[in-house]
Symmetry: C2
Subunit: 262 residues, 2 copies
């Protein structure tokens, strides 16, 4: 992991944009508008909502890809697969060269704490980072389709500029969550750790017209982490949270203990 990604001066950065809410979601359009003059933007995103798809990939059936018209002057393609599929096919089939950065979002809804694992938005960013493309996933703490992305756009642009202008590990991956409040009320940016917070599931049992049972996933989000350097804490206190994310899932502490047992 020694190699660094650095812009060659004078050349416009190539920016891959994707999401998990689907290519026609307002959030991805807001992201494109926010960064389009920072480089050459190419969009490769799912043709339909893919929230909660985590790091799923499509195997056993092929993908379709088609060009769409989204934002003037920006090349865009919709894919029949998952957010991770989009990153894979973008790198292999769409882009002429490795992108300088991959941006995912802006997600309609937060992806703090354990949501990083369920989120298609963040899984696309993680996939880019596996492929040695620095990446940032952006999420706005408002799940509605009509969410106001103004503040999120401002911070998405600032953070993207900062990363593009610096020297970083090629596997850099950031999980950025933005409070859904007036920009003037945002207290600033906090670098955080992922909170230990989870859902207490409660499947709602119903019966269909034929009398057969079915179950809806519902549940309550519970923050079990009282630390003040977490993404949940930051959002609750009106900060933009940045959690740097990696894809080495090895639990090194437990590894030491297991070494004595096996």
């Amino acid at each position: 992991m020694a190699k660094k990604t650095k812009q060659t001066s004078g050349k416009k950065p190539l920016i891959l944009v994707t999401n998990d809410d689907g290519i026609y979601a307002p959030g991805i359009r807001a992201l494109i508008e926010a960064v389009k003059d920072l480089g050459e933007v190419v969009v490769v995103a799912p043709d339909k909502p893919q929230s909660g798809m985590g790091h799923a990939i499509t195997i056993g059936q092929p993908l379709r890809m088609s060009a769409v018209s989204l934002v003037d002057g920006v090349e865009a393609y919709q894919i029949t697969g998952t957010p991770v599929d989009c990153v894979k096919i973008a790198v292999d089939k769409v882009l002429k060269q490795r992108p300088d950065i991959c941006l995912s979002g802006i997600n309609h809804g937060p992806n703090h704490s354990i949501n990083v694992i369920y989120s298609g938005t963040m899984s696309a960013a993680v996939e880019a980072s596996i492929e040695s493309i620095p990446s940032i996933g952006f999420s706005l703490n408002d799940t509605s389709h009509e969410a106001d992305f103004d503040g999120a756009q401002e911070y998405a642009r600032v953070i993207t500029e900062k990363i593009l202008s610096g020297k970083w590990d090629k596997h850099l991956c950031l999980n950025v969550n933005i409070p859904a409040i007036n920009t003037l009320e945002i207290q600033g940016i906090k670098v955080c750790k992922q909170a230990y917070a989870k859902y207490d599931e409660d499947f709602e049992e119903r019966k269909d017209p034929a009398g057969r049972k079915y179950y809806w996933l519902t549940g309550e989000f519970v923050n079990l982490d009282k630390a003040k350097d977490t993404d949940v804490w930051a959002l609750e206190h009106n900060y933009v949270s940045i959690v740097p994310v990696h894809f080495d899932l090895t639990n090194y502490e437990l590894k030491k203990k297991l070494d004595k047992v096996f």
Copy 2:
């Protein structure tokens, strides 16, 4: 993370079994047979193959569940969702109490290195660990339906017994990969880290009978990690690999650097 999971003596452990190849795959039957006399086994698994589903959950549509007859004396249910859905619904709707352990597999095919992220088998195990249920995912290094699970069964049993009889963090999660060779040739068990190895994707472009393009995900697996304490190294040298896995994706090293920038 201070609480420990420990069997109350005299009480049979409750063992939740799931997988991602589907409830009728030979691998899950092999796992049930291997551990069924270690406790009370309850099976909750997908009704169809779910390989590559990663940590996907089903939102936007409900789940169906039905009892199936799989192995004599073992309660078993099939679910219309993903492996992670199976763990969630098992805990909330099927089991009378929190299971003592969750076992996932035995997967038809390896889940070493980066595959831990794509794998439904391992995502089910990770989900259990998020829910404070110690868990183990087992994978055999043979993708065929007719794979010989004898050696894998032996090691699955030994490792499950060892974990059930010890005192562990409630979030313990192990990724176990077993070489597909004669048990006598297996060199032992190695506790490892996740190798940095990935796929070099190569989407194969074809045309359907109407002349429209579609793309098959193909690719070559490349091990970029030359270390000798990785799961890929262990498997190549005929060892059973155990990688302890955690769900805190925070990159703490990068966090320190970012603290100076934001």
